[in-house]
Amino acid sequence: MNKFTIAIIEDEKNISGFIESTLQRHDYKVISAVNGKDGLAMISSNCPDVILLDLGLPDIDGLDIIKNVRSWSAIPIIVISARTQEQEKVTALDYGADDYITKPFGTSELLARIRTALRHGKSTVSTVDGSVVQTPYQCKGLIIDFTKRLVTLNEHVVHLTQIEYKLVSLLAENSGKVLTYDYMINHIWGPYADSNNQILRVNMAHIRRKIEINPGEPNYIFTEIGVGYRMRESEY
């Protein structure tokens, strides 16, 4: 079987060691570097499938590495970052990182992020009549059928407004991945929309009341305060 290659750029031996052993146990091929220079060389010679990048490297600013890699490749980059640095995360995402994971993280969280990063683009499925359509989002009783534009929760149709449907389907198409406020606003309201994210927060609150049983304990759409929203990974 052809294994996926994961590159780790992390200067802390203990952390990269723990990530390495976890990933190897889950059948990934792992290559690692302890500084930015070696990391860049490693990426360009090996072309890994996913890059795990710590932003605080001794030699090169992690953001410069993102810029450098993005100038020639679309390899998914997952940033490893500490909590309480929302601004840093948002900047990294703006620079082209695909996602981030907050230290300290558990094994399952890390594996989920890597799975999401490996799942490029919209997945498709063939229907009975032979046409190829986008795979529906499905998770714990919530189903979003993108072709019919239909959202059902435990077999009951959920009535969403146009904007609300657009938001939910945007999150669902990128399920498992964090989407920043700015990204979502640009996508739904266009590039000239007010950068104030209040309208987004209000719409998200409406959606929460329609698809979550208890808006205080969401099941499907999670908030990453100061950064954006993340929808639970689709089961398919």
């Binding site: 209000v202 205080g216 999670f222």
Partner: protein, 361 residues
Amino acid sequence: MKKTMSKKELVWNILVTILALTGATIVSYLLVFVGGHTANVSIVYMMAVVLISRFSNGYIPGVIASFISVICVNLVFTYPFMHLNFTLDGYPITFIALMVISSITSATTTHLKYQNKIIHEREKLLMEAEKEAMRANLLRAISHDLRTPLTGIIGASNSFLDDHNSMSEEEKAILVNGIREDANWLLNMVENLLTVTRIRGTKAHIAKSLEPVEEVASEAVMRFHKRFPDSRVKVTVPEDLVMVPMDATLIEQVIINLLENAVYHSTSKDPVSLTISIENRNARFDIRDHGIGIAPDRLSTIFDGYTSSPNSSGDSHKGMGIGLSICKTIITAHNGTITAGNESLGAIFTFTLPLGENTCE
């Protein structure tokens, strides 16, 4: 104290003097040549001199101003106009009076300024000393609180490395679990310390933004669940969307600390409830457990931190540590209130955050 006048002060003094005198001259001109009264000219100049003495630094501007004033009054506004006449009745009295007034005003204001400066410096010193004391207390509390879990981690890992051959799988699991628990506790402590560095003294330094309370609460509970997967929390949020100005990271930390507190100290497995409601232009957060409650003698000092009574000082998990005092600091910095109390069954912690303008949908 005014040995050398700085360039800036000199310019300022000259500016004040010229402005005030010009003003006085214009007013006097209007009084004399438009209104026809000469009686109040001296008063107007006197006023200018007082103002100059008040707003300039040192005695010199006032004295110079009073000298110029006297000449002006004499030359321009007293008959014969445009002639100096020192033989006028009462002239020396006007001159001396102006001189004395300016000197006294200058002396008083200079003195006042000097005293203000001293008071200010003293306050600053006092505040610094207070901060230093707080820092020392905090450091003491932290070092004390850090030692216990670290001892646990080192001990458990040592015994694992030494005896892992003779241990049963179950024993190993217990040891590693203990390490994990202690490490998680340490992590929360460090997050607490980081939040303190976010506050830095006064409330003006908190970066507040409008956040929906339900998002903050759900994120806090999610992070809490990562650490305590087995403990249950019942969250209730208001029907309507409520946005409250706050530093979300800090408020999350408060919620997590209070939940952790409930888990460690209630000695009950019943779910903790987190209820958010709106009350008198405040968002009210209630964290309620169904355990043993809080000892009445601790209620009054519970938020003061590092008050672990002597008999419980051995185990920092049982002492309240600094978590609650950090909660209080954070809530106070948000202009909110935080209280603790006992219900019929279990303890309840309540904090409120003021709603800003137009925060309800």
